[in-house]
Symmetry: C2
Amino acid sequence: MKIALLGPRGTFSEEAAYKFDKNPEIYLCNDIIEIFEKVSKGEVGYGIVPVENSLEGSVGVTLDLLMSKDLKVYREITLDIHHSLMVLPGTKLSEVREVISHPHALAQCKNFLREIKVKTRNFPSTAEAAKEISEKKLKEAAAIAPRVAADLYGLEILKDDIQDRDSNQTRFLVISKYDHEPTGNDKTSIIFGLKHIPGALYHSLGVFYKRNINLTKIESRPSRKALGDYIFFIDFEGHRKEVHIKKALKELERKTTFLKILGSYPRG
Amino acid sequence: MKIALLGPRGTFSEEAAYKFDKNPEIYLCNDIIEIFEKVSKGEVGYGIVPVENSLEGSVGVTLDLLMSKDLKVYREITLDIHHSLMVLPGTKLSEVREVISHPHALAQCKNFLREIKVKTRNFPSTAEAAKEISEKKLKEAAAIAPRVAADLYGLEILKDDIQDRDSNQTRFLVISKYDHEPTGNDKTSIIFGLKHIPGALYHSLGVFYKRNINLTKIESRPSRKALGDYIFFIDFEGHRKEVHIKKALKELERKTTFLKILGSYPRG
C-alpha cells in the first residue's frame, strides 16, 4: 500500500502508518500540503495527516486543507503518544549526561528529566535526535523519541513511557480519493457554513439531536472571509449511507450556506 | 489613561488605542502575555489585545489567556485594516525601486505591487519598515504600513488603501480588571465547557435561542485535556446585568462543566 506521510522516518506519523497497514510502502513528504497533493495526483493511494493532539490542540493546516481540497477521509487512527528514552546499545542510565529531542517532547517529559538531572538540547524532531545518537555514536547522550525510532536507528530503549501525563493522544486521518464502505460502527466528518439568522447553529444541531445522532467533535474556525463568520467541523456517529444519516444530511443542507461531506469511515 | 499594547510604535494596535482614547499614555509590550500581566498587576488600567482578524483568523494566544487569566473585557474595537504606501517627503511613485513591509502586508497588497512592478523585502513589522525608510533616509524605497506610522516617522503618504480586499478587519479587546456598565447596546463574552452527554451543545444554545438572544460569535477550541473535549467562546447581544441575560446565564451554568463570564461591554 502506497502511503504518503510527514518525514523524517521514525516519527509518530510512521507509527500511525503501521497501525493502518502492516507493510506500507512509505513516501516521505516535507509538509502536509505535499501529502494532500500526492494523494490528489494519484501518486499514492493514501495519505496520513495529524488532525488533533490532546495537549497541543488542532492542526490548523490540516483543517484548512480538508476544507479547500477535494479528498475524503478513509480512516481515523488515534495514537497514544508514548515517549521512550533511547541510547547506543550498552550505555547505562547513570552514564547519560545529555538528553536530546524535540522541545515539545522534552517539555512533555519534564518530571522524568528533573529526576535524572541532566542537560537537555533541542532538535528539529524526535527522530532526528535518535539519528544523531546513532550516527555520531554519542555514548553519553540519550534521545527522547517514539519506540519506532529505536528500531530504525539501532538504539536500545532504557525506559518507556517517560511522559508526565498519560492523556497525550494524537488523532490522525487517512485521506484518500474515496471514503470507506459501511462497517456497522462508523463515523462521518462534515464541514458546513451557517446562515446569518438567529438560532442558525441551534437548528443545525437539532437535525442531529432529534435523530439521536451523537456528535463526537464540534469545532468552529473563523471563515477568514469576514469577522463573525465561522465554519464548523463536525464528526458524528453513523455512516452517510445509512437512511437516518442521509435524511439528517439532507435536512442540514437546507439550513447551511454550504455542506461538505468529508466522508464516512470506521470508528478508530 | 495608561494603556499597554504590543510594540513597536506605529502599528494597528496603536491605532486601536487612539480609537479607545484620544490621549493615551502608551506602554509597549513585547508579547500578549506581558499585556495581561501589566493589567493584572495594576501597572496600567487597560490592555489592548488583538483577538481576531477577518483574513488570518483567531489569535490563539489571546483566547488562551482570556481562559487562564482573571481579567475582564471592557470594550471591543474593530478596526478596518487600511494599508498605505509611504515614502520620504518628496519621493515620487515613479522613483520607488523597492517596497518593504511585513510579509502579511505585502501579501495583502499583491495586486497593487504587481501593477507598480517593484522588488519587495520583508520586515518584522510594518512599523519597522516605515522606521527604516525614515532613519536611513531611503530615497528609492517605500513602506507599506498604517497611516499612524507616517505621522510617527515623518513620512509622506503616496497612496491610501492599497490592499486587495476591503474586508480586512481586526477585532481588538480592551482588557481590564472590571467590565463596562450597561449602556443599552451591549455585548457579553463568555467561555464554557460542555458535559459529555448527547445534545449538550444543542441544549446550551437553546438557552439563548428561546430568549431571542442573538449570538455574534461561536468559536470552539480543543480543551487540550483530552481528544473530543472542547471549550466554547461565545459572544451575544445584551449585558450581564439585564434580567433576561441573568436568567440565561444561570440556566447555562447548570448545563455546562464551567462557565466563565468575561464581561459585558458596549457594542463596537
